[in-house]
């Protein structure tokens, strides 16, 4: 009876899931983690126009942090990132709550809020640039309506331009955040809301005390998605301001791209990529850790 074949079969059955996962995992290991190591190596090399594997230690990092541009990029990311995340969440939540009020035309409105996510900034960039341009866009139009004194020239003011980037970014992502919150709202047990109503809570109180605290998972997802989009934002800036006026809208992502590919300072670009990765890891790792540990319940 005790032939080996059933045991072997069983063992194969046990290993099959791992075998199925293996190709994907291998791809990710090589193409993501392998490349991260590769980039790390480049960041410690003397590479300029093409990869050169000559050890230079932390020279590129020193040069990186000596760049006023890099500091500008970090500062801009702080401004842009916080505005983008906070306003997207506030707006997305507001829209989701409004849409959740048994709106008859919800089926029409939802795709309207959602569609910007479907468009790339390569596509909408020009429209936005016109729209924000004081000479041609909104300012011009409003003046045309008779408000001669109206000014909206943030796009061309170095101190304000980063806010226009935030506006366009919020336009693009807030609908998606709305969808996440709406899904969260729809998932809340209706009996709980009824209970709160019977307990005497007003609609406002129900949202403040019950609904919004219950949307915690949706908040978390939204923050993660937005944070990584903020850090990765690239075409947004390129299409809208090209990093200008001056370097007023430089972000780490544009910085990395230009140093790697147009300024022939690949080592510095790679160093900035490493710093960005560390920033992302600082956000993601605690989140992943808590998320995956919680499952043990």
């Amino acid at each position: 009876m005790a032939t080996t074949s059933p045991g072997m079969l069983r063992r194969l059955q046990d290993w099959l899931p791992r075998l199925v996962l293996a190709p994907s995992f291998a791809l990710v290991l090589i193409f993501v983690y392998g490349f991260i190591v590769w980039t790390a190596v480049l960041s410690m090399s003397t590479s300029r126009i093409l990869p050169v594997y000559k050890w230079a230690g932390f020279d590129a990092y020193e040069r990186l942090f000596a760049q006023p541009n890099w500091w500008m990029a970090l500062k801009n990311l702080a401004i842009f990132g916080s505005l983008y995340i906070i306003i997207c969440i506030a707006l997305g939540l507001l829209l989701a709550i409004l849409l959740d009020q048994r709106i008859r035309i919800e089926g029409v409105l939802r795709p309207i809020y959602l569609y910007p996510m479907a468009l790339s900034f390569v596509v909408t960039g020009t429209a936005w640039k016109w729209f924000l341009n004081p000479g041609m866009g909104f300012q011009n139009t409003v003046r045309g309506w008779g408000w001669e004194g109206f000014t909206f020239d943030w796009l061309v003011r170095p101190d304000m331009a980063i806010y226009t980037v935030a506006i366009a970014g919020i336009w693009q992502a807030s609908g998606f955040v709305m969808a996440m919150f709406l899904a969260g709202l729809r998932g809340i047990d209706s009996e709980m809301l009824k209970a709160a109503t019977v307990d005497g809570a007003s609609t406002f109180t129900i949202y403040r005390r019950i609904v919004i605290p219950l949307l915690r998972p949706a908040f978390l997802s939204a923050v993660i998605v937005l944070a990584h989009m903020a850090i990765k934002s690239y075409d947004l800036v390129i299409a809208l301001t090209g990093g200008g006026p001056g370097n007023a809208t430089e972000l780490p992502s544009t910085f990395m791209y230009s140093y790697t590919f147009t300024r022939s300072q690949m080592a510095v670009g790679s160093a900035s990529a490493m710093i960005m990765l560390m920033g992302i890891a600082a956000i993601m790792v605690p989140y992943l850790y808590s998320e995956l540990r919680e499952e043990k319940r």
Binding site: I49, G244, P245, G246
Partner: protein
């Protein structure tokens, strides 16, 4: 069948039509053409794509390239050698030395120059000029006077697009105007720290601040051709821009001398800041491909092509021996200026277009110039920061 794959960023109608001349010429010689256009701000995306291709070990046959980029790539040892063809066609005799400097590396020909653009031009709306009753200005003070006159007419005196390379183009013209060719060489080409932080440079930055006053409110981020359109339509009086701007005027059915006036940027007559588009041939290690490359290089240097291409593009031929009969007034002036400058030693590479310094330094200068122009830093800060940034980027 032989064929070439050409990476370039000439995607606009006129340029593409010009390239078509080359494509058909090659087709008649049995060489196929596979097009790889990558548009976008002076070839930024194209260079990214090129890096990817080269890194992948699969470079395109020929690549449009500018100035120091050619040198950088040659340094990597990935370019092919065109010495035989150059000797055969006598390139050395007909192509100005200053341009040869970029077409050759280690005394070997590695690129075939297509054209010569010069950047220190000023384009003036004729009607506005006439209304101001002024002659075309000859120096910076004359320029300011003219711009003041435009201001009084209620038009935007100087049309400008706030992009780093446009800011840089304006800046290098002012440098040339204020300091002359020697100062330009010292400050820009030699990156001399004293010159970059000195009094002449202070004057340049002051001029820049002053010019800034003549822009309209929404110059930031504007594409250069929109600025040209402002001059064409009379919304603006003048634009400082390279000779490719002429294409805009011509395609708007404007006639040089009647509707618009082209002059060297005030104070720079006799000197030229050039940039030259060249085709670089990558070393593909394959005889058949090499033969195609040579045929293409030969076709590029063919005088007929040089005329056909440059009349459309607005630039002047890279060869100085091409007849100017087919060119318009501005073109003729440009060709004459080139010959003169080449002979007189007042022909220098344009910084803003990659012929003055490697891209790292160029971008470092742009950083300072742009930030200064946009009021993010003062003139004093610019003067301290410029030498530092240039030194750091070297």
């Amino acid at each position: 069948e032989e064929s070439v794959e050409v990476l370039h960023w000439w995607t606009a109608g006129g340029e593409a039509a010009a390239l078509n001349v080359l494509k058909e010429d090659l087709a008649s010689k049995g060489v196929g053409w596979s097009d790889m256009p990558v548009a976008g701000g002076s070839g930024v995306q194209a260079m990214t794509a090129l890096r990817a291709r080269v890194t992948a070990g699969d470079p395109p046959t020929a690549v449009q390239m500018l100035g120091f980029d050619i040198r950088d790539w040659a340094e990597m040892g990935v370019l092919g050698n065109l010495d035989d063809l150059a000797a055969e066609q006598g390139w050395a005799e007909v192509i100005p030395e200053a341009i040869q400097a970029f077409s050759k590396y280690d005394d070997h020909w590695i690129a075939a120059p297509v054209n010569v653009h010069s950047t220190n031009w000023l384009w003036i709306n004729k009607a506005a000029l006439d209304a101001a009753g002024a002659e075309p200005p000859e120096d910076m003070d004359g320029l300011f006077a003219m711009l003041d006159a435009f201001n009084e007419q209620g038009i935007t005196p100087l049309a400008h697009g706030g992009q780093p390379w446009q800011d840089g183009t304006l800046w290098e013209s002012v440098v040339l105007s204020r300091g002359g060719m020697d100062f330009y060489r010292q400050a820009v080409l030699d990156a001399d720290a004293d010159a970059l932080g000195g009094d002449t440079m202070r004057q340049v930055f002051d001029d820049m601040s002053k010019l800034r006053e003549y822009f309209d409110g929404s110059f930031s981020g504007r594409d250069w051709n929109l600025a040209s359109a402002m001059v064409i339509e009379g919304q603006a009086g003048a634009q400082q821009m390279g000779d490719w701007a002429k294409g805009e005027f011509l395609s708007a059915d404007q006639v040089p001398g009647e509707d618009f006036v082209c002059i060297r940027f005030p104070g720079t007559q006799g000197s030229i800041l050039f940039n030259s588009d060249q085709f670089v041939m990558f070393d593909l290690g394959d005889d058949e491909k090499r033969s195609a490359q040579l045929k293409m290089a030969a076709a590029v240097e063919d005088p007929a092509f040089q005329v056909a291409f440059n009349t459309v593009k607005g630039s002047v031929p890279a060869r100085t021996d091409v007849p100017d009969t087919d060119f318009d007034d501005c073109g003729k002036k440009g060709m004459a200026d080139l010959v003169e400058a080449a002979a007189g030693g007042t022909l220098a590479g344009s910084l803003a277009h990659g012929h003055g310094q490697p891209s790292a330094v160029k971008e470092a200068v742009f950083d300072v110039v742009t930030q200064h122009l946009n009021g993010q830093i003062t003139t004093d800060e610019a003067l301290t920061r410029l030498p530092q940034a240039v030194a750091a980027a070297q």
